[in-house]
């Protein structure tokens, strides 16, 4: 017992020395909703963190907490970082919105960055990417490649970002095949490989020969690989997990944004804003096209170039599921309509959970 006590005291001394010797100018901290090994959403955020480490070297120190549940634990995790001397804290899941705002009020000198939310403050910025641009492209690829004309979509939560993804996928598919069908399964989780795999199997059994997902694990794609159908990687390039099944992947590349914002803190020029960029700014990147014939790759690349050139997938004519017109021919939906989307486009074989 005595030696344990001694060790503890020694550790405390070591710790004190450690903090004193810490020469980093900025400490950037990250709160993750999943494990860094999910090879999806959280993995990509951690890749962004590692890019910050690489870019700034000793000037910046980083820390992260993984698998922080949305709910009571989130506020404590964020507050811990604020108290441990983090200068900028990235909270990387929608459910961290109100805890972020709450802690930010208590620590006005700390900068906060909340991913995918809509509440900002003087020291809280938000950032998100136009993932739906990638969805439009994979919708086109799906419609080109599908033999049954049916795709399965594994969806997480019916929040606007996910619904916009489904709609963009469907609009892309319809631009190739107006009769294309889309079946949706809601799994009510961001990360649950078992559930995601079950949903993929159910969708394949219902005739889908293309699987796509708005959840974070590689499981749906692995099921596609096993069952001989095809799919797309989500958030990260998942080709290693499904070398024969993946056509491409919508990659979230947070590195440029994280480096940019940490630089702002270093320079003292950080200001609150709402960032929402896409393919053009390389915040969304398409993985190399694989297992596809040349003409489909060409079509996908042409669409990619069109979007980079400023075209928006949510450009009319767009008809809602109930038959009303969402956008007239040539009219582009405004950002607010996309960020608050709560309706399906015509042709989606599902009722939105209300």
């Amino acid at each position: 017992m005595k030696s344990l006590l001694k060790a503890t005291v020694a550790a405390a001394a070591f710790l004190a020395a450690g903090t004193a010797a810490n020469a980093a100018d900025v400490k950037a901290c990250f709160v993750y909703v999943g494990p860094v090994g999910d090879f999806g959403w959280t993995y990509q955020h951690d890749q962004g963190r590692l890019a910050v480490v690489e870019h700034f070297g000793d000037k910046v120190e980083t820390a992260f907490l993984e698998s922080v549940a949305e709910g009571p634990d989130a506020e404590r995790a964020i507050e811990r970082f604020a108290r441990e001397g983090c200068d900028i804290i990235f909270t990387t899941s929608f459910g961290y919105m109100n805890p972020t705002i709450k802690v930010a009020k208590k620590f006005p000198d700390v900068k906060f960055e909340h991913a995918t939310g809509y509440k900002t403050a003087d020291n809280v910025a938000t950032y998100n990417s136009k993932f739906h641009q990638g969805r439009y492209i994979i919708g086109q690829v799906a419609a080109k490649q599908s033999k049954s004309g049916v795709a399965g979509y594994i969806a997480s939560f019916p929040i606007p970002e996910v619904i916009a993804g489904i709609n963009a996928f469907m609009l892309g598919a319809q631009s190739v095949n107006p009769d294309f069908q889309l079946k949706v399964v809601w799994v009510n989780t961001w990360f649950d490989p078992g559930k995601e795999a079950d949903a993929a199997k159910a969708l394949i059994d219902q005739g889908a020969d293309i699987i796509t997902q708005h959840t974070d694990s590689t499981a749906p794609l692995q099921v596609a690989q096993e069952r001989g159908v095809h799919g797309f990687g989500q958030a990260s390039d998942m080709v290693a997990f499904a070398p024969d099944a993946q056509y491409t992947a919508i990659i979230d590349d947070w590195a440029p944004y994280y480096i940019h914002r940490v630089q702002d803190v270093l320079d003292g020029t950080w200001e609150s804003h709402s960032s929402w960029e896409g393919l053009a700014e390389k915040h969304v990147v398409m993985a190399p096209y694989t297992n596809l014939p040349a003409d489909v790759v060409e079509m996908a690349k042409a669409t990619e170039a069109k979007i980079v050139g400023g075209w928006e997938p949510f450009t009319g004519p767009i008809t809602k599921q109930d038959g009303t017109v969402a956008a007239e021919d040539g009219v582009r939906l405004d950002d607010g309509a996309i960020l608050g989307m709560n309706w399906y486009v015509k042709g989606v074989d599902d009722q939105l959970p209300q």
Binding site: T8, L15, L65, G71, R76, R80, M341, N342
Partner: protein, 364 residues
């Protein structure tokens, strides 16, 4: 060679007191080895995990705040388990209690006065108790297995909450995101001390102390213990097993519901699709770690909460995986159970030749 567990005739009083300490010691030792293997200075790891959370006011408060719902739910569950009612569904009772407690701030947000909070807390108790009545009545009426029914209702409760926050209770200003409106100040449980803890903690401690008194000193406490240990003897004394089932489920459900309302009102300030990181299930562990005694549960709740806060500390400070924190928590439970087992049983090595002629048939 075979290893057998043989029941001890007498239990060492000293060892009963020592066993939790031995368990903590063994956990610390194993944790040190794990830290060393993962390339972290073991002393520093142990310090961050077990000591550092106690050295600062905010982390101490965060620990107590995390322990609060575990203690409150655990106390109610202890009464169930003492009386042989296996309520596994506190998680659901927690959620339904939180929903009932939120009726006022969500549906009548303009009702803001000094009655708001007390009414919310009472609704929370009622909601949790009502939800617990379902398995209780199914048990007393139809003799169904309450372990199954109470557990299944956890998922029903979760889906109900999910429906409410996505549907009728969705925040009108929330861009369709699944969350209720934010509670007004009148519906928010006030903070105490440094702001990490809400009034929930003093309320919980008072309830635990009252319950400890009731269990130790009153006829009701005697009834609960007798019916748990020997229902037949209890029925001769005029105690009704059915009435006690209803009572213990109502109490456990009510306290879980109160905990749910206090978490929602004190720290979340709104309803979300998921409001509990498994409090209702973790509280089962807390109840047993605390030996089904409210005072023990207060200590057990604190130790378990410490392992969460310490786990976060080693993650953020030393960059180790959160899985290591989970492993250390698991080891703690393992050692506590192992030490308890060795108090009740002793290990006997039996060679096959010796065992057979004696004709023992303990092939378990």
């Amino acid at each position: 060679m075979r290893i057998e567990l043989v029941k001890r005739k007498e239990h060492s009083e000293l060892m009963s007191l020592m066993s939790p300490l031995i368990a903590v010691g063994l956990t610390a030792l194993s944790a040190a080895i794990i830290f060393a293997i993962s390339g972290v200075n073991p002393a520093l790891g142990l310090y961050k995990f077990f000591i550092e959370p106690l050295t600062e006011q905010w982390s101490l408060e965060a620990t107590i705040e995390k322990a609060t719902p575990l203690i409150l739910i655990g106390c109610g569950l202890a009464v169930c388990y003492l009386s042989n009612n296996w309520n596994i569904g506190a998680e659901g009772q927690f959620v339904v209690g939180a929903m009932f407690g939120s009726i006022l701030p969500v549906m009548f947000p303009s009702f803001e006065n000094s009655l708001t909070l007390p009414l919310m807390l009472i609704s929370g108790v009622i909601g949790g108790a009502l939800w617990a009545m379902i398995p209780a009545l199914l048990k007393t009426r139809f003799n169904t297995n309450e372990i199954l029914t109470s557990l299944m209702l956890v998922y029903v409760a979760g889906l109900l909450l999910d429906y409410l926050v996505r549907g009728p209770w969705r925040d009108p200003d929330g861009f369709n995101f699944p969350e209720s409106r934010i509670f007004s100040d009148a519906a928010t449980l006030p903070d105490v001390f440094g702001g990490m803890m809400s009034l929930a903690t003093p309320i919980t401690i008072i309830i635990a102390l009252v319950l400890a008194l009731v269990l130790a000193k009153t006829i009701k406490g005697f009834e609960i213990r007798v019916m748990g240990e020997s229902p037949r003897a209890g029925s001769f004394a005029g105690f009704s097993a059915k009435r006690l089932t209803i009572f213990s489920f109502a109490l456990a459900g009510g306290l879980a519901g109160l905990a749910g309302t206090m978490v929602v009102s004190g720290s979340l300030n709104q309803l979300l699709p998921s409001i509990s990181p498994g409090y209702g299930f973790t509280a089962i562990i807390v109840a047993f770690l605390g030996r089904l005694n409210p005072i023990g549960i207060i200590i057990a709740g604190f130790v378990l909460a410490l392992s969460y806060i310490g786990g976060e500390g080693v993650q953020s400070g030393l960059g180790v995986s959160n899985k290591i924190a989970s492993v250390i928590q698991g080891l703690l439970l393992f050692y506590v159970l192992a030490c308890d087992t060795l108090i009740l049983y002793r290990i006997r090595m039996v060679s096959r030749r010796a065992a057979n002629p004696a004709g023992e048939v303990s092939h378990v």
